[in-house]
Amino acid sequence: MSTRDTLRTFIVDTFFVDDFADDDSFLRKGLIDSTGMMELVAFIETEFHIKLDDKELVPENLDSLSRVVAFVDRKQSLAKAS
């Protein structure tokens, strides 16, 4: 399963949100609240074996599905490179 599908399945299963677009802001659409955001972060860490720094928990990285996917891809390639 691709990163996008894994994340989408997790979000749909956990937060019971109906179909949402890749670029929908989680905050502005009210899809995920703060507790949910922490759960998403924990899921990303265990699922993709990457470590997120607290400084990286900002809307530019995590506020929509496409941003999360881009962020995870970037982190994974960085991890591979090092």
Partner: protein, 180 residues
């Protein structure tokens, strides 16, 4: 301990009813050990055979103006738990609240901006046969569906599907019920 003596005399339910006198309605044979602190102008409805075990620490039931706390039949609530309702908090039949639980349907302060205005309340729902472990916190929007259980110390503000066990902080699904 005054409660056991009263129970021996067969006055348990009568004493319990006296302690729960501020509730809107109380069902058959309630049991109350220790102190239950009931305040606020809202409505509190208590079903049959409800047990409040507040021997270790008092229990708080706080229904504010326009708020409603519904505790259905056979619910057990242990000491130190606190339920605060601005809109509606429902505890389903046969559910169990551990010690030091906190159920609130309003955050009371916005995360940002003016801390003195109140955010919107979201009703909180605990369905039938749910077990909530001690020191868990159920935040606005929590909806524990039938037979779910929550490990101790978990913070929840979302829907938990039927038969699922969640735990940890941040919360994570520990176990899904196998099909019977």
């Amino acid at each position: 301990m005054r409660a056991p003596l009263m129970m021996m005399l067969g006055l348990g339910p009568a004493v319990a009813r006296l302690k729960l006198r501020r509730c809107g309605s109380v069902g058959a044979t309630p049991t109350v050990w220790g102190r239950v602190w009931i305040h606020g102008e809202g409505e509190i409805v208590i079903g049959d055979r409800v047990v409040f075990d507040a021997r270790m620490a008092p229990i708080e039931l706080h229904a504010q103006q326009g708020g409603r706390i519904v505790i259905q039949d056979d619910v057990t609530i242990e000491g130190g738990s606190s339920i605060e309702a601005q809109s509606c908090v429902t505890l389903g039949a046969r559910s169990h609240l551990g010690m030091w639980c906190k159920l609130m349907d309003n955050m009371y302060h916005p995360v940002r901006g003016n801390r003195h205005e109140r955010p919107r309340s979201v009703p909180l729902m605990v369905e039938e046969g749910v077990t909530v472990g001690s020191r868990s916190i159920l935040l606005p929007g929590a909806h524990l569906q039938k037979g779910a259980s929550v490990a101790s110390g978990t913070v929840i503000s979302r829907r938990i599907p039927p038969g699922v066990t969640v735990g940890g902080s941040p919360a994570r699904v520990l176990r899904r019920e196998v099909a019977r």
